[in-house]
Symmetry: C2
Subunit: 429 residues, 2 copies
């Protein structure tokens, strides 16, 4: 029994072509793409609308939305030490719940149907995911140098056992060792052993800044990528965030070990981390998805902006206007993002038997005219605020720009109150 039909939209099909057609959804999946004559509980008129796979955000720290605009235009370590870390010390589990919900609201309203999180108080993150209806891949961030190092391992194991494949399969769990510079080799070996025991994959920050790569070379005589290979970490299915400063040798290892990359152009630009060699990675056949990173370092969670930056940054950096064409950027934000999370058979494509994770753009505004090429319009001209309808796992979570599972007014009031409290407390320190 068909419960939703999207009628007459311009659909980005799995073959990369845009065609005017219908989509039928039954339960949580797409059951047909083509002319649908069947009745349905809900028929959505999609004339003059562009229908694309929901965006997949492969790297963020959702609850950091509470620190959005708190501290910008600063040197990284100054920003962390004087602003972010002191403020984070004040975070309660309730703050993390509300901060995550704020991030989810923003992501749904800008067309994201699946995100990847690494933070703490993860059961509260999972609760926000479960309640809101979005899809997510969650990791308890672990720092081997912190006093909570062993506690983080234990929490990760419990969190995996409790939440992996929970919420009707919408939540999957990975282990989240923060980075080689916060997790010494002995600790990473424990993480690897735990991954082996649980059969879980790993989400980690690798080679974000030139400084950390130089330190790693100095301390261990090899790059972070090569060090991870030596420790056996790369044998467990790794999602590596950033990979800005990777060498051709690193890329060879990454390809061989099937490392998937979360590229965060907005964060890399704003924090002045550098430009990742994404065209080289793609040429090597490495899977590269896109991520927003946390709202404190971006400062929004707009995947369309990341998609556009991916298409534009590498052109100017390589002085090559063909560096990352529109179609490649769209793939990175959707199907490659899903692959990067190990969900390539589940989401990221509009195809029969895939989960109904769908974003519908309204094309009425002037910047969508004339329409010579819809993928080009999406990549270079559209706004995430043109997102009209968002469906996740067959449920409508954004209906004509209104959230259906989240009370936006209450949420933003809570976020304002909590954001101010966190910062005021940290300022008095």
């Amino acid at each position: 029994m068909v419960h939703i039909v999207l009628k007459g939209g311009d659909v980005l099909c799995a073959d990369g072509q845009v065609r005017q057609t219908d989509i039928a959804i039954s339960g949580s999946v797409i059951t047909q793409i083509g002319t649908i004559t069947e009745q349905a509980a809900r028929i959505i008129d999609c004339q003059n609308k562009l229908i694309v796979p929901g965006f997949v955000n492969t790297h963020t720290h959702a609850a950091m939305s509470l620190f959005r605009s708190y501290a910008d235009d600063m040197m990284l370590m100054d920003w962390l030490k004087t602003k972010i870390w002191p403020a984070e010390e004040n975070l309660t589990s309730e703050d993390v719940y509300w901060g995550t919900l704020l991030a989810i609201a923003e992501m749904l309203k800008s067309g994201t149907t699946c995100f990847t999180d690494m933070y703490f108080f993860m059961p509260d993150v999972a609760k926000a995911v479960a309640e809101s209806g979005i899809r997510a891949v969650l990791s308890r961030g672990m720092a081997g140098v912190a006093p909570t190092a062993n506690q983080a391992l234990a929490e990760s194991e419990n969190f995996y056992n409790e939440w992996h494949n929970a919420a009707g399969g919408r939540i999957t769990v990975m282990l989240g060792p923060h980075a080689p510079y916060t997790c010494p080799p002995d600790y990473l070996k424990k993480v690897t052993a735990l991954a082996e025991k649980l059969g879980s994959q790993i989400h980690i920050h690798l080679s974000e800044t030139a400084g950390e790569v130089a330190d790693c070379q100095k301390q261990y005589g090899k790059s972070p990528i090569a060090l991870m290979e030596e420790l056996g970490l790369l044998d467990h299915g790794v999602l590596a965030a950033h990979c800005v400063h990777v060498s051709p040798e690193d890329i060879t290892i990454m390809k061989q070990k099937k490392v998937r990359v979360a590229h965060n152009p907005g964060s890399n630009m704003k924090l002045a981390s550098g430009v990742a060699p994404v065209p080289d990675m793609l040429k090597a056949g490495i899977c590269v998805g896109l991520g927003t990173d946390g709202a404190a370092s971006n400062n929004n969670l707009d995947m369309l902006e990341e998609l556009r930056l991916a298409a534009m940054l590498h052109k100017v950096h390589r002085l090559d206007p063909l560096a990352i064409p529109a179609k490649t950027a769209v793939d990175m934000a959707t199907s490659q993002g899903a692959e990067a999370l190990g969900l390539g058979k589940i989401t990221g494509k509009l195809e029969t038997s895939y989960k109904a994770d769908i974003t519908v753009f309204d094309m009425k505004e002037p910047h969508w005219h004339p329409r010579h090429d819809r993928l080009s319009l999406l990549t270079y001209a559209a706004s995430a605020r043109d997102v009209h309808t968002v469906i996740v796992d067959g449920k409508i979570l954004l209906d004509n720009q209104q959230l259906t599972t989240i009370d936006q007014e209450r949420l933003t009031a809570e976020a304002d109150r909590r954001g101010m409290r966190l910062v005021n407390n940290s300022n008095t320190k």
Copy 2:
């Protein structure tokens, strides 16, 4: 008599501070900023809204909006020769009118109150500006190598005499020699003589690509900037678009001759032109505004996107997170942009006696929460689609997201029809 009051908004004042206060408008100007108790024909509740000077777009080719998404991800000369130039040959004066109106609609809806245009069929551009109510600085583009070279000079003179300071002062006119590589020295001398005769300023493309700078060096033994100085062109008040490939010596000349720069980060990224040394120009005390360039090479006319790119691109290019802070980027999009057009005493600031050119952002969406710093939110998190109200010259042109002087539905239908015709014609050539 006060005719509009903006009540209780968060106002970006001329001193760079954001304060909650009121703004009174009488006729075309701001008459008071502070607590207003007077009655007014229209009172707009601006609680939870951010009020900023309207954005000033210092460089575009408005009617090229008809070629939006027609050809992307191509080499520059290939793009021009096989796509844009053949399509432009089909343009009629009516197409230019409708293409300009499409651009104006998009600009108003994204908070731009003044734009700078260089194109042809300029009386039709002026008609669209006059009817829509926006402010503009217009130039008839002139190419000395084209068969229309002398005609363009005559048209420029007529256009200046007819339209400079027209539409209640909303339109000013500059001369628009296209670039040194399309205007040989003899022709530029004629342009300079005409500028002298009329007392007009000059809008020109300078040093956009490395190739044109190399060619200029080869042909004339000096850079485009040095060549323009030699020809006396820089003595007439020059707005120079791009200035991507300028040397320290060029920057010294630019400072000395008070050249103002239109920086177009989006176009420079997408066309892979390179990264302009904007931090060096600003440090030298050169006035730098922001521009979108034409929609065929951007592909939208969203000044907030340019503002954000200006803040982010130079950070990653210089590996310096302090390169262009939020406040500087906002200044470039507003007050410096107005200065660049010679309108620094007219627009670009919220100050008593300035023209009421004002953009009001609605801060209700999740990406505006929490609000630790409103300028940071505007620069790094906001969307141009959050623009709620736009006032130009004291008239409300966008009222609760609705255009008041343009029939959007008719406009987009016309634009679609004309855009398709232009391209179909050019394809059969």
